[in-house]
Symmetry: C2
Subunit: 418 residues, 2 copies
């Protein structure tokens, strides 16, 4: 009989390091409750040990149930080492087949009232569960809020994990659209630069001379300088904003998402088949138990020629069916635990990716505004030489230059003599 080893310990970084008395370690149960284990005596307790704590509490079942299930050793003690959940499959004590029907009924009732299995995943019914504490309180962490499936607007079932995955894929779409937006801005800037550059070369008033002509020529040239500034802007937009937006999640991103998707989906599928096995085993046990009961009754009223041998056989089969059921439930629980672990790990990874996405985009958009600031400043500076030359405009100087070039004669007319 296999002894499943199931570990519910959280990833190491999730485990708080707290200062405990010597020999004690702390762990988090799947429900999120912290419990303490004495590594030498193997005592387990919910209560934080002080140096005076020696013996485990021996109170009602719930306090010592981890994951809602009582862990009994052969002696009836709570199983001491929580890291390793060894199932002591002692048939006599643990087999559901050996309990009285009444007790069984109670247990089944207990099962019905405290847990519910939806889409092959087993949850506590909220009222009866010991209050689960969030794995990462106050953080609104993905690993705390996406356990259940939901229905989409079309009525199809969507797992919580898929919601998380879709968000990541949408995030990639967002960055692509942002890059498109930047691309459009780049095109606008290039068009603007082209127009300014062309205009700067138009010959309007090219014949203006002197200091005014110089100022005007510089004003026209400043448009070419402005064009240069905008071209530089568009070029940097391309290399420092657009390109990173397009590429900071590489092609591998989608592959990784697919991988996660399939991995988690496979674990769910496995859970489905294991749950089916449990239901099948449960039914088979019920059949065997019914058979045993009938045969026992028949023996009592000497209804048939069934011998004690037959009853023993029926009892054996019943016991086996019980064992099968236990195994199936174990396998199921293992499968669920595995899925649980992968969900926590992977959803935290998606959470990390999302933080990274937001921070990266924030950084790139800041770069955008930085480039815009730069551009406006460079643009301002194109006016400086124009301002200077306008300052120097001098009508008298211009007249001197022009007259020197175009004068026709400075001898003034005189009276004609007779």
């Amino acid at each position: 009989m296999q002894q499943p080893v199931v570990s519910y310990s959280m990833p190491a970084e999730e485990i708080e390091s707290v200062s405990l008395p010597v020999g004690w370690k702390s762990y988090i149960s799947p429900e999120g409750r912290k419990y303490y284990v004495n590594t030498s005596t193997k005592e387990t307790t919910w209560e934080r040990p002080s140096t005076s704590t020696t013996s485990p509490k021996a109170s009602g079942s719930h306090q010592h149930s981890v994951n809602g299930r009582q862990l009994h050793g052969a002696s009836g003690h709570v199983l001491e080492h929580p890291d390793v959940y060894l199932r002591k499959t002692s048939l006599s004590n643990q087999s559901p087949g050996s309990t009285s029907p009444a007790r069984r009924q109670n247990k089944e009732k207990e099962i019905k009232e405290t847990k519910i299995t939806i889409n092959c995943v087993t949850f506590p019914v909220s009222m009866s569960a010991p209050e689960q504490q969030l794995l990462k309180p106050s953080e609104w962490s993905y690993c705390d809020y996406f356990w259940a499936d939901k229905r989409d607007p079309q009525g199809a079932t969507v797992s919580g994990f898929e919601v998380l995955l879709q968000k990541q894929l949408k995030g990639k779409q967002m960055q692509k659209e942002m890059a498109e937006f930047i691309r459009e801005r780049i095109k606008i800037e290039e068009e603007y630069a082209k127009n300014l550059s062309k205009l700067s070369m138009f010959p309007m008033a090219a014949q203006e001379e002197g200091t005014l002509g110089e100022a005007w020529a510089q004003l026209k040239k400043s448009l070419a300088d402005e064009a240069e500034v905008h071209l530089k802007f568009s070029s940097k937009l391309q290399s420092e904003v657009e390109k990173p937006l397009l590429t900071f999640r590489g092609d591998n991103f989608k592959k990784d998402m697919k991988k996660y998707d399939h991995h988690i989906a496979d674990l769910r599928k496995q859970l489905v088949s294991r749950y089916a096995a449990v239901e099948k085993a449960r039914k088979a046990l019920a059949d065997r138990q019914k058979d045993l009961e009938v045969k026992t009754q028949q023996l009592e009223i000497k209804l048939s020629n069934k011998t004690e041998e037959d009853i023993k056989k029926a009892r054996r089969k019943s016991t086996q069916a019980g064992d099968d059921l236990m195994r199936c439930v174990d396998l199921y629980n293992q499968g669920q635990s595995k899925w649980f672990e992968e969900m926590v790990t992977t959803s935290l990874e998606l959470e990390r990716l999302e933080v990274e996405r937001v921070e990266t985009i924030q950084q790139l958009l800041r770069q955008y505004t930085t480039l815009r600031h730069e551009t406006d400043m460079f643009n301002q500076s194109t006016m400086e030489p124009v301002d200077q030359l306008l300052q120097s405009v001098d009508p008298a100087k211009d007249r001197e230059l022009w007259v020197k070039e175009h004068k026709t004669g400075d001898l003034r007319p005189v009276d004609m003599d007779i």
Copy 2:
């Protein structure tokens, strides 16, 4: 016989006010030389009077010639009151007909060697003229440099005044072309604004939520703000630069230029016809003089039966022809003086208009650079709200918002019971 009144005094503002001894006033001759007149004694002198100056210099002809011509009164004195050039048309003294041929010849020689008439305008021959001083020294004034005609590249004759006029008309063309340039800039700005405005409304990444979504939305909006800035720029360019450039010389300007053109041209035309009259009178005089000479010779050798009566008649005709010539020369000189005055006045007006044009354009182009500076500053400010929102981007907050909206369930799965 008419007594032409010709005044060569400069416009009042051209006359230097200098501190002179009591009773003296200063004037500028047409050649630009300053001379001084004692308003009580009517003494005239080239030399600046100190309190000791009393009598006019009595030296060679040039020193007392104003406008290169000796002004002799009946007594032979230099004509005292220069403001009014009264020609004392005493026939006996002043008639060229009464001078000896030899003396006449000298005078003609003098005329040939000191003055030259080109296109009906009479100039001193540069070597012999008393050095003309500029009317407005160190100012490169229009009124000093455009007396002569010139030839254009096609070989046609162009007056100096026309050169000045063309400059003004060209100036109007320059301002029109500058306005066109600004119009083109306005169109470019409007195009840019339109493109930015359109892009700002594109739905790229509209689904981004939370603090990142807000920052992104503001970034997109900032393009609309930028568009607004550029529209305002183009609007102000239109009203504060383009429009004034087009309109600061009104339609009247061209009419005024035409008026000046015709006025000055008419005065030149009059000069042409008056010069023709002089030439005609000169020829007539020559004919009459020859006739007299012939008749006198004939009398002396008793060649014909001409009586003294005939000679007296011939002599009278000769004298008349001389008077005619003097009158024609006077009229010509008046015409030239009138043209001279109008040239000075009008060219100074054109000069003033040119200064005004340069200063106005300087002002409007400064307005252009001011608007550009403003625009860059307003543009910078469109980034402020974006920077602020980018500052506030918070992945944790965004996760909280998203998880609250999209979570599927926070109950964690538990082990199934048997």
